[in-house]
Amino acid sequence: MCEANAYVIKDGKEEIYLESVDILKPEGNQIYLRNIFGEQKVFKGKIKEMSLLNHKIILEEEK
């Protein structure tokens, strides 16, 4: 029910991609993300993991 931060795994580390994500929508091989401030991003890749308790979305880049 609450916003989450989206991270991308880079060199084995989690790097913040977009904070306070409100909407996350898969669109083909891309993922549309929009946060509570209205900032939008389109990520090319897939969702690796979501932890709603920790408000965390982990994204994985397409190789």
Binding site: D22, F37, G38
Partner: protein, 138 residues
């Protein structure tokens, strides 16, 4: 009836969520004025059932002193916040207003308020509603 101004900018998502929650909790016991720093933000807030809406610097400056309560993200007190949409005059008008201000500690300007625990927007709005109930006996 208490008159509440909800101020937001950019996409108006935060203001829109606040208004939706206020309307669900208080129905028509309150009057909500949506003040957007731009027309898109106001339009979004109007969709959430604000009573009236107005956009831009003059609307915010004019209305800020005519309401009982101002609600919005912390950015509404910060000149040049929201990518510059929040002008110095808007911030000054909010600051000068005799209305009570209930601000949510969320912003993109890197302002951290010490001792405030970071919480998701719905939790902050729940607390905001309790605060209004206590303060105004609505």
């Amino acid at each position: 009836m208490i008159k509440i101004a909800v101020i937001d900018g950019q996409g108006g998502g935060i203001g829109s969520f606040i208004i939706k929650s206020l309307r669900e909790s208080f129905g028509d016991k309150i009057e909500i004025i949506a003040l957007g720093t731009n027309a898109a933000a106001t339009a979004n807030m109007m969709k959430s059932k604000a009573n009236k809406g107005a956009s831009g610097e003059n609307a915010i400056v004019w209305n800020a002193s005519k309401v009982d309560l101002i609600i919005g993200p912390l950015s509404i007190l910060v000149a040049n916040a929201m990518m510059g949409e929040l002008t110095s005059k808007m911030a000054e008008a909010v600051g000068n207003s005799p209305a009570k201000k209930f601000l949510l500690p969320i912003n993109q300007e890197g302002i951290e308020i010490i001792s405030v625990v970071k919480e998701p927007l719905p939790h902050l709005v729940e607390k905001l509603i309790l605060h209004i109930k206590e303060e105004f006996n609505v």
